[in-house]
Amino acid sequence: MLARIVRLPYFKFTLWWAFWTIVGTLLVHKLNFSWAVSFTDAAVTQLDWTIAGYCLNAALRYMPPSPKNLLNVMAFTLVVAGLFTFIILPYGMPLVMQYVDSSGDYESFLSHSMYVRFVIGWMQLLFVAAISWMWHFIEEQQQNQSLKSDTEKLAREAELSQLRQQLQPHFLFNSLNSINALVVAQPELARKMIQQLSDFLRGTVKKDDRQLVTLEEEIHQLSLYLDIEKVRFGYRLKSEIKADDTSRAGKLPPLLLQPIVENAIKFGLYDTIGEITISIEASVIEKQLVISVTNPYDPDTSQPKGTGFGLNSISRRLYLIYFNNNLLQTTAENSRFTTTIKIPQL
C-alpha cells in the first residue's frame, strides 16, 4: 500500500511542498506573525516553487547533464525565480493574505523580504535541478542494467539450447546403417534397435536446462545410447556403471552425461585396437554430485591435449548454468583418460 502511494506521480512533489511549507511556517512564525499568516505565506510560496520545480524536473528528463544545459538551467531558474518573486508574489500573495492577516503588518514584511525570497527560491530550484539530474541518471543506469541483463539472459538461453543440440549426426547415420544391415539378417534385432534409437532420440528433445533430472534418469538415457553403440561396435565396446542410491538420487542438468560418454567411446575406440571398457562412476562428495567417465588410450601415440570439442561444450554449459569454470576436469594417467564433472547439489 505504502509502496503504491510512493509510486504516485505527484507524491514526491507533495511531500516536497509539505516539508518546505513546515520549514517556512516555522521561520515566519519566529518573526512574530500568527500561525495562520505564517502558514499561508509558506504554503503559497512553496506551492509556486514546487510547481516550478515539477516543470523543471520534467524538462530535465530530456536534457542530460552537460555544461551547455547547466547554463540553460541557471538561466531558466533565474528567470522563473525572478518572475515568481517580483511579479506573481507581490500581486498574488495579498489576494490570499487579506482573508488571514488583519493587522496589515504582513504587506511591509513581504516587500522587505523580496530579495531574500528570490535567493532562497532560486537555490531551491537549483537544488531540484541537481536532484532531478541524479534521479534521471540512476533511473537510466537501472534501465541499462536490466536491458543488459535481459540481453545476456537471452544470449545465454540461445547458447545453452544450441549446445544441447549438438548431437553428432554421424551417430545417427551410423546407427541407421547398422539397422539397415540387420533388417534382412536379423529383423528382430533391427526392430529392437529402432526402438532404442527412437527412445534415445525422444529423450534428447524438449529438455530444459533448469529442469534438473535425477542421475537415475540420466543413466537410463545413457543406457539406451550405450546399447546402440554396443550393437554398432560389437565385442569391442564394454561399459560399467557404478552409482550408489544416494548419487542416483542426485540431480543434474539433462543430457550432460551422454556427450561425455560419447567422447570417451570415440577416444577409446579410435585410439586403441582391442576391446575397451568405459567406466562411469558416481558419488556424492560434500554436497556435490561427482561423476567420472574413464576410457583407455594409447599414451605412445596420442597426448590428450585439453578437452576437445565435445568436452568444451560441456564445460561451457556448466559455466552458463553454475557460473563456475572448474566443474569439468580431465586427467590422463596410466593409459586411462578420465573426465570428471562436479554438479553442485542444492
Partner: protein, 245 residues
Amino acid sequence: MIKVIIIDDEPLARSMVREYLTSYPDVSILQECDNGFEGVKAIGQHKPDLIFLDIQMPKINGFEMLELLDEPPSVIFTTAFDEYAIRAFEAHAVDYLLKPFAKERFDKAIQKWMAARQTAPVSVPAALTENTSQPEEKNRVVVKKGNNIVILPVHTIHYLEAFDDYVKIHTKDGFYLKKKTMSYFEKTLDPKEFVRIHRSYLLNLQELTRIEPLEKDNHVALLKSGVRVPLSATGYTKLKEVLGI
C-alpha cells in the same frame, strides 16, 4: 573373379557391404578387416582388385592407410561423414558411399568401377591429395618401416628432409621415409612448431638449441641431438621472425 576386401571397424557396416555383394557371383570377398593395420597387411597379402574402405577407424584413418600402400587397389569409400568427399575423389576413389546407402546406389558404384576398369586400368596414383587433412593428421604422421606401421606423434619428429620423391622424417630412433612432399608437411604441421628453414628442411622448433654462423652470411641450426641443419637466407629470416628475435 574379382577380389574384394572390406575394411570397416563396425561389424554391421561390413555385413551390409557383404550382403549387397551377394548379387555379384563373380566377386569373392577375401577378407574383412576392422582396422587399417589389418587392412595394409591383407592388401599386401591378397592384392585385391577393389576395396571398400571406411574413413574413421582405430589408430589410423582410411586416408592414412592408403598412404602406406605401395600399389593401392581401387577404392570405394563408405562413411557417414560427407565432409571428406572431395578428398576422397582427390585420392582417386572410384566412388564415395554415404552411410546408410541403398542397394541401387551401391550397384551404381560397382558399375562405375567395372566401366572404368574396361576402358583403362584403374590404379590409384600413390601421391595422394595434399589439400585437406583430418584434424588428427596434424598431430601424427603414420609411416611404414619394413612390415611395421609406426605412428609418430609430431613432437617426436626432430626435422624433415626432402629426399627425391620422399620425405625423410628424422626422429631419435632414426629416420622414416614417406612418399609426400615438403610443402605437404609445411601446410599440415603447425607453423608455430615446424618452420621451413631451407628448401629441403623443415625443423621442429623444440629441437633447436643454437643458430651458428657459417662463413659469409650463411648460418646453420644446431639441434639438441647434435645434428647441424643448413639454414637458407629466407629460412634464417623466417626462423628469426618465428622466434621473435
